[in-house]
């Protein structure tokens, strides 16, 4: 696995630009992830890679393609100090792991570093530093069920109120 490092306020127009949002084929969509912002990303990203980014990751448009494309690319988790609201929701519904961690930890991560998720924390194996990993309880609950749609195949939507317990 490797780390892909990004800056602050990575918006959904950078993740899947509007002009390339012309398909409903997930594979095709994965090919345009960061197509202009970081063209080598879609070519070189491997299953299990981490994205480590600055504040307000995923801001901007509601396009779920931003989450779908990164999931389809095999991104294991996105670690950032904060995420934009709709992107966060879309990730919860689709089971893309978003982890909040403090800015000091994040600024110490470089692309050559090795990271690992371990019992509620994220560990930088290269530097030995670690940080508390904040994960939405709803995300964890829905992940167990394979995402919102899978949950709804066997449960009524009202049962979502209890799913976090």
């Amino acid at each position: 696995m490797r780390v892909w490092k990004f800056g602050n306020a990575i918006n959904t127009d950078l993740i899947t630009p509007g002009r390339y949002n012309i398909t409903t084929d997930r594979r095709e969509l994965a090919k345009v992830a960061f197509i202009e912002h970081r063209p080598e990303f879609a070519r070189e990203v491997k299953k299990g890679d981490f994205i480590v980014a600055g504040r307000n990751f995923g801001c901007g448009s509601s396009r779920e393609t931003a989450v779908t494309a990164l999931l389809e690319c095999g991104v294991a988790a996105i670690i950032a100090p904060s995420f934009a609201r709709i992107f966060y929701r879309n990730a919860i519904n689709n089971g893309l792991l978003l982890v909040t961690a403090d800015e000091a930890f994040i600024s110490g991560v470089e692309e050559s570093h090795q990271l690992e998720m371990r019992d509620g924390s994220v560990v930088n194996l290269t530097t030995g530093k670690s940080a508390a990993a904040g994960v939405s309880p709803m995300l964890l609950a829905l992940q167990k069920h394979g995402g919102l749609l899978s949950f709804l195949k066997t449960h009524k939507i009202d049962e979502l109120e209890q799913v976090q317990q």
Binding site: D13, I22, R85, N90, N93, K153
Partner: protein
């Protein structure tokens, strides 16, 4: 328990029980909105969990983001969406930008609108709770009439004083965005109040709430009042509504007060919306295009402001001035009162109602060297086309003055 916020009251009413801030609840939704790109991604998820939509009359599907189809790929997406609408008995809307049309024809005070579009908070200008969601949420809401939500904290923004000469609601919200930053209201509801808000008509409030999406808010909302009633009466669809308010002892995350008489014409500089500066700081910047359009600022009132500035003058040679009325209603009003004829004579290109150039798909896509003054809501890198192009966000007044001069201009000199 402390008093309740307006957002808390609306969500509680839709959950059928009293909710506390931070609660996760499943609520019923009054309207489900999706458009020609988000619907495309909702159809497959919908079919995974349902055969029929819960109520076709509560589902609103708009063809606005890329309509009329600019390419065969979009035509194909439109075809798929059309087939879904036909299969489910859902009306297709071809009347302009979804948020504007919802406000004109459907959105009602105290309602909950789930919209698969980030600028859904626009409808908060009607006193409704309108939140942006993704396609999966839209699919689930179409299937069940419900959604899961977390009850947000509320930032109360009080506006006091009077708008100075040449300053408009867009300048106010760009100024607030600069102050709060593009994530300053993340996950939170923004509720507007203060003595000045009573003077803001619904179109102005739609602009304020629209831009709340750009500071991360779950919704922007202006409590429904006499202005809301006047707007609904004008639209011929007034029915009595309760004037819901936050309780006096409601628990706000914070309360901010702005004296709007101190605001100036403001321009948000690329590439982020919270980079607003007084127009004087960027005055004279050469431009190649002006986009007067979008759900933020192309209502008839916005066209009237631009017309007032440009009347009897010409667009600077070489500048592409694109006027895209937000809806069919605006388009027809502007045809009737002669604005479109006048803009055309000035050298404007009139585009059909819809999102137009805002999102870089058609009707005004920017090239590498383009510099655009836009009345829309996002100036992100690549938003309107080439990642090398530059987008300056501003009010319709600044846009109009800039179109005349071929450079960013202060509108106040044309308003004397």
């Amino acid at each position: 328990m402390a008093g309740m916020t307006l957002a808390q009251k609306i969500l509680s009413a839709h959950a059928g029980r009293k909710l506390a801030i931070g609660d996760t609840a499943v609520i019923s939704v009054d309207y489900v909105l999706a458009h020609d790109t988000t619907t495309a991604w909702a159809i497959e998820p919908f079919h995974e969990i349902a055969k029929r939509v819960f109520d076709p009359s509560k589902i609103f599907i708009f063809f606005d983001h890329a309509f009329p189809a600019p390419s065969t790929q979009f035509a194909e997406m439109h075809r798929k969406i059309g087939a879904f609408c036909k299969e489910q008995g859902i009306k297709m809307h071809f009347d302009g930008v979804c948020h504007q049309v919802m406000a004109e024809k459907f959105t009602y005070p105290n309602a909950f609108l789930l919209g698969a579009d980030s600028h859904t908070p626009t409808g908060g200008g009607m006193g409704a709770m309108c939140c942006g969601f993704g396609s999966t949420d839209a699919a689930v809401a179409m299937a069940t009439g419900k959604a899961w939500v977390r009850v947000p904290q509320t930032i109360r923004i009080n506006l006091e004083g009077n708008l100075p000469f040449g300053v408009y609601p867009k300048d106010v919200i760009l100024g607030i965005a600069k102050d709060l930053s593009s994530e300053g209201a993340n996950y939170k509801a923004v509720e507007f109040g203060g003595s000045a808000i009573a003077d803001f008509d619904v179109p102005s409030r739609l602009t304020l709430c629209n831009m709340c999406a750009e500071i991360g808010a779950k919704t922007g909302i202006v409590p429904a009042d006499a202005q809301t009633r006047a707007y609904l009466e004008k639209q011929g669809r007034y029915k009595p509504f309760e004037e819901l308010r936050s309780d006096s002892d409601a628990e706000f995350d914070k309360v901010l007060t702005y004296d709007i008489s101190k605001f100036e014409p403001t321009v948000s500089t690329p590439p982020d919306i919270d980079r607003g500066v007084p127009v004087s700081q960027v005055e004279g910047t050469p431009i190649t295009q002006v986009f007067l359009g979008s759900c933020t600022n192309c209502r008839i009132e916005d066209l009237a402001v631009a017309y007032r500035i440009m009347k009897g003058k010409k667009v600077m040679e070489g500048v592409k001035f694109i006027v895209t009325p937000a809806s069919r209603q605006v388009y027809e009003q502007a045809l009737q009162n002669g604005f479109l004829m006048e803009f055309s004579k000035m050298g404007a290109t009139i585009a059909p109602p819809g999102c137009g150039a805002c999102l870089g798909r058609h009707m005004g896509v920017l090239g590498d060297d383009d510099v655009c003054v836009s009345t829309s809501n996002r100036n992100f890198t690549g938003r309107m086309g080439s990642p090398k192009a530059k987008i300056y966000l501003a009010s319709p007044a600044v846009a109009a003055a800039s179109a005349l001069e071929g450079k960013i201009a202060d509108p106040r000199k044309y308003l004397k």
